[in-house]
């Protein structure tokens, strides 16, 4: 009985998902050339690109699933798995690298066991690295949930992370 309820619940969530994906696809009026933007919007909505969304896009735009998948895996901007509550992006572009960006990544590994692409066990943080965010004068640079934190140091990192629970 309980299992049935669960699957009903899951079904409900999936339907709501698919409505949201449909709404995004509608905005593109069937234009296949805007596939990358479309996937970006899906990612912005769900925090990642769910497999079902790719199937749905493939069916509605009449594009082979393999092609949707190849775009979603070619470009770095797309994630195919869900992410933690807070997204940490550490810049490892040249300017930040020269000013010690890697130290931040090492520290996150040491303190939280967080490696690039990974999520902490408690689902609190996901770490990504990026090659330049275009604010190189402020390196080393790190972004948490869209907020930029410039001229980062190990000490400042500790203080900054505390406010994200």
């Amino acid at each position: 009985m309980a299992a049935e309820m669960d699957s009903e619940k899951v079904q409900g969530i999936l339907e709501r998902h698919s409505e949201r994906v449909n709404a995004i696809i509608d905005g593109y009026e069937g234009r296949k050339d805007l596939m990358i933007s479309l996937l970006q919007d899906v990612q912005a909505e769900f925090n990642y690109v769910p497999r079902d969304a790719m199937v749905q896009i493939s069916q509605r735009l009449d594009v082979p699933l393999s092609q949707v998948f190849s775009i979603a895996t070619f470009f770095k901007a797309f994630n195919l798995t869900p992410r933690g509550r807070h997204l940490i992006t550490v810049c490892d572009g040249t300017a930040c690298h020269v000013r010690g960006g890697l130290r931040l990544i090492d520290k996150l590994d040491r303190d939280l066991g967080l490696t690039p692409g990974g999520t902490t066990e408690d689902g609190r943080f996901t770490l990504e690295t990026v090659r330049c965010l275009g604010a190189c004068a402020l390196g080393p640079l790190m972004v948490i949930d869209g907020k930029y934190h410039g001229q980062m140091s190990s000490n400042k990192l500790d203080r900054t992370l505390r406010s994200y629970t």
């Binding site: 234009r31 296949k32 050339d33 805007l34 596939m35 990358i36 933007s37 996937l39 970006q40 092609q67 190849s70 775009i71 070619f74 470009f75 770095k76 901007a77 797309f78 490892d92 572009g93 040249t94 300017a95 690298h97 020269v98 000013r99 130290r103 090492d106 040491r110 303190d111 990026v130 090659r131 330049c132 965010l133 275009g134 604010a135 190189c136 004068a137 402020l138 390196g139 640079l141 930029y148 934190h149 410039g150 190990s154």
Partner: protein, 621 residues
Amino acid sequence: MSIEQVDRLVDVAALERLRQSIIEKRNPFQLRLRICNGTGCLASGADEVTAAFEAELTRRGLSAEINLVKSGCHGFCEKGPLVVVEPQETFYQRVKPEHVPAIVAATLDGKIVEELLYVDPATGERILHEQEVPFYRGQTRLVFGSNGTIDPTQIEDYIAIGGYSALAKALTQMSTAEIIDEVKRSGLRGRGGGGFPTGVKWESCRRADGDIKYVVCNADEGDPGAYMDRSLLEGTPHAVLEGMIIGAHAIGAHEGYIYVRNEYPLAVSNARRAIEQAMAYGLLGKDILGSGFDFKVSINRGGGAFVCGESSALMASLEGQVGEPRAKYVHTVEKGLWDRPTCLNNVETWANVPLIINRGADWYNQIGTEKSKGTKIFSLVGKVNNTGLVEVPMGIPLRDIIFDIGGGILDGKKFKAVQTGGPSGGFIPESLLHLPVDFDRLTEAGSMMGSGAMIVMDEGTCMVNMAKFFIDFLEEESCGKCVPCREGIDRMGEVLERITTGKGRMEDLELLEALADTLRLGSLCALGSTAANPVLTSLRYFRDEYIAHVVDKKCPAGECQALIQYSIISEKCTGCMVCVRECPSHAVTGKRREPAVIDLAVCSKCGVCYDVCRFDAVKRA
């Protein structure tokens, strides 16, 4: 003014009338507070500063007397958030919300908040105006000049400073052949890296067969460490648009695209708004300024792949496909987007066009060197005192940029190299700092102009490790379509890994050179064919450092973890215990007021002790 209310400009006279009316409505004595809202300053809290100003003006009931302007990037992002008070042009830096009431009070009293002025580190003097700051003094700001002075979201601001007058001139006083000729004679070369003559490209595209043609603006800016394209598109989007409209008219294109990285949300939204406003005024769309010329622009967001900045990969990506380059037996000016003639230019290239049309090729080609004309915007970053965007005439020596504008090396350290041209460029040593920045001189030195990143490295940067950094970057970014690039870069990475971990052999240096040759000759696109440049220039100018890694098993810069050891200099250690507490591996032990000791068997070489020691008592060698 909201977009819906404006009247379409039916001809050039209407544009001029609009310009006059905007200027007349503006009081030159008006107090204005210009707050930088570029990405750099926003990262340092410019949004909170802006909100604080809004609240303070409202509180004092001064919202009508004092205008707030949210400008684009000034270039000196490191000192942000920046605020300039007009009409006096007082320049405040590192402004925090708590400074806001003092600034407003001082401004009303005609006074100055001394402690927020920039202090010249050389003389200790406080500097009142932006252009007197050494960072700005050596610059020539032709393209980037209005970036920090106007509100990028207000087309009226751009029109007030003469915006769209070049378009008016091109549409009514010049034939398309004359426009192309002017751009050719100006000597403008592409700012995206290749340095191809822009006028020649336009002419080929104009001559190419086909009714439907496209112009594209490359705002992918994949070179890590460069951000001038973002700042320009964010801060003066209308100059880029104006350049594109003029180019499209000359070439005979009616559709254009701006391909911009998804990491640049503010550039996307400012460019989008600029397009809407230009459409509303009839500066884009049908029958532009009554000339009969139609042109529309759309924005496409890239997915963050370096190779997508390359012309054929960019076009594949615009078509909604995977961004892989193709062999270019046929040029994209003949068969580009959807196999139609396409003219691709970089953001900065487009932004130069209105200047050339307005002031003329003869004026423009006076600036620069024989074969590199005009100015170039560089992103001066890394281990240099003043970091930011600098615009200089082509031909000025690298030394002037790094030491005069940049104020020398951070923390009084010694200069080692400057890297230009990004992953396709190379390292330039101290002995070549007299080189003028010029497309051809930099190429001769084994590097290249590239898009304009200039990354300064000091004695603490290991050149082998930096070469490996670029190779790792390109290994990730190689699309994998052609074998020389996919496999060659991989092998180079393995060899460099060997060297930086102390397992290198002398033959490895020749192996690197042989691999470099294969890459240069066999790759499908310039990503592969230039990929070896960082390795080759580091071998050419810093071979000793490679030999130290291979023969002595030492990293002279102290960066390669496998080749260094940490130890405590007991004479300097005060026994403050900070390293003992901070060491994540518990490798440092000691008692209060007694020198600490590092257990090398446990040490993970993370360098935390080195960073936290305030007495220089940790040795890295």
